[in-house]
Amino acid sequence: MSEDGEVLIAVSDLTKHYGPIRAVDGISFEVRRGDVLGFLGPNGAGKTTAMKMITGFLEPDRGSIAVAGIDVAADRLAVSRRIGYLPEDAPAYGEMTVEAFLRFIAEARELEAEEQAIEAVLETAHLRSVRGQTIETLSKGYKRRVGLAQALIHDPDVLILDEPTDGLDPNQKAVVQDLISSLSSDRCIVLSTHILDEAERVCNRAVILSEGRILVDSTPEDLVSQAPGHNAVRFRVTEGDAEEVAARLAETEWCASARVLPGGEVEVEPRDGENRLNDVLAAVGEHRVADVRVREGRLDELFRDVTRGVAA
């Protein structure tokens, strides 16, 4: 999270209802230059609605949004020139070729050096080989890159990407994630995802939304360290009784739980989330152990804990 970059998105008390449903419920946050903010949350948490309001496609019921200091409600056109937006499922005109589609976007954005912009973005998004193909004939991974290319063509300060890797296979995901990572310096990116690994890989800030409210605003590393089971130690007892070892560990004051897993391994969770490997080894004493490893917290477990709390 960058503390000193220029504020590019400032959202205050943003609220939107769909009939009786409160899709977004009074959220406020700022995103600075250099930030890659991941919106995490279950489906229906309000991620897409919030993004649509930032881009000016939806009007909020209450609250304000400023992009690069410009009020979205007052001057959507000026804001749209500063934003690159990839809507959910990367919609594009399927009957057009990649090149014709990008030319349309460049024309609509009234770019001065149209051809250079198109060439540059074909290069960045690795689309040169398919430039003459119609978009409907492309694979999902290419289509997504076409969506990213149109969002990037005017080299915007602000990128809003709604589930940029959703529905892609692991290889396509990696390509798109690398592309996003390569774009992150010198602008701000807001992306939504429900893949927590992706947030860890790409983002330097994570916001968990549920039922329209912000539950957590932190860095992915912090989230990992708060996750249940962070720094849990697992090992196999090669000489001695696993049950006895587990019982002995359970008596120590730093231990939250120690149990024998169905596969015969012992798992010890520390109470404070600190790395307790040395304490574990000391407590094991005369028993011989092997395959000792410390595991990281699992974001999805934290995510479930946090979002379940709201739903309950």
Partner: protein, 253 residues
């Protein structure tokens, strides 16, 4: 930038894309072929235009049936324009570019209208034949083309409204045909007689002043009357404004 120009920001890019779009698929060519066959048939048919029997050097036989062909074909030109954007989600892309809703709406309307104009001007061999066979009234022919384009514009604006209303192209098409037929039927003598009998002469005059067919005929006779021109312009603008209001509501559904 003045306020009005700003309101229609981006219409040129949309106009160009949509106009090329008609020729990027077979749809545009199929439309033109069907239009030319239908208008040619109605022109020379013994049951309709009777061009060959009448032996007159004018094109009434051609122009008087064009509104009825348009009732079916113009909704076919219009149906895709918004329904497809909303079905595929590209409307979100379009309306987050530096393009206003009004600008994109106008761009699509002008693209459809330009395409219809191309189709209409492909009837030039008929003009050529009339000129070869006799001495036609060029003023009337010019006025008839103007009237045809104006009728196309008002029907296209109706079609665009229903395309903004329904995500389903077929539904948009059927509703637009029904509305256009209704709009034309106001002008047939039977309707006016019926209205006159039940509601009196004043209502009859009001209804007949709303008749597309009457205004169309008045123009094709070669009289570019102000009230008929205004009729077409006002109704086209009216339907366009209604469509923009509808799209403002339906774009996010």
């Amino acid at each position: 930038m003045s306020g009005l120009a700003r309101r229609f920001t981006g219409f040129r890019a949309v106009l160009r894309r949509e106009f090329h779009g008609y020729f990027a698929s077979p749809l545009g060519y199929i439309f033109i072929v069907i239009f030319l066959i239908a208008s040619g048939y109605l022109m020379v048919s013994r049951d309709f235009g009777r061009f060959l029997e009448l032996r007159e050097a004018n094109l009434d036989a051609l122009f008087s049936y064009l509104p009825w062909i348009f009732v079916v074909l113009v909704p076919a030109v219009a149906m895709r324009l918004w329904a497809e954007e909303r079905r595929s989600g590209t409307v979100e892309l379009l309306l987050t570019l530096p393009i206003t809703l009004e600008g994109s709406y106008l761009g699509k309307f002008l693209a459809g209208w330009a395409f219809l104009a191309v189709s209409v001007f492909l009837t030039w061999p008929a003009v050529f034949q009339v000129a070869r066979l006799g001495d036609p009234d060029w003023g009337a022919i010019f006025a008839s083309y103007v009237a045809t384009l104006l009728a196309a514009a008002v029907l296209l604006a109706i079609g665009l409204l229903f395309s903004a209303l329904s995500k389903n192209q077929v539904v948009a098409f059927i509703l637009a045909v029904a509305a256009s037929v209704g709009f034309l039927l106001i002008g047939v003598p039977q309707t006016q007689e019926f209205v006159g009998k039940w509601f009196g002469g004043y209502v009859e005059r009001v209804v007949s002043s709303l008749s597309l067919l009457d205004h169309f005929e008045a123009l094709t006779r070669g009289l570019l009357q102000l009230n008929s021109l205004l009729f077409f312009v006002l109704f086209t603008v009216g339907w366009l404004v209604c469509g923009m209001l509808v799209l403002g509501q339906t774009k996010t559904n």
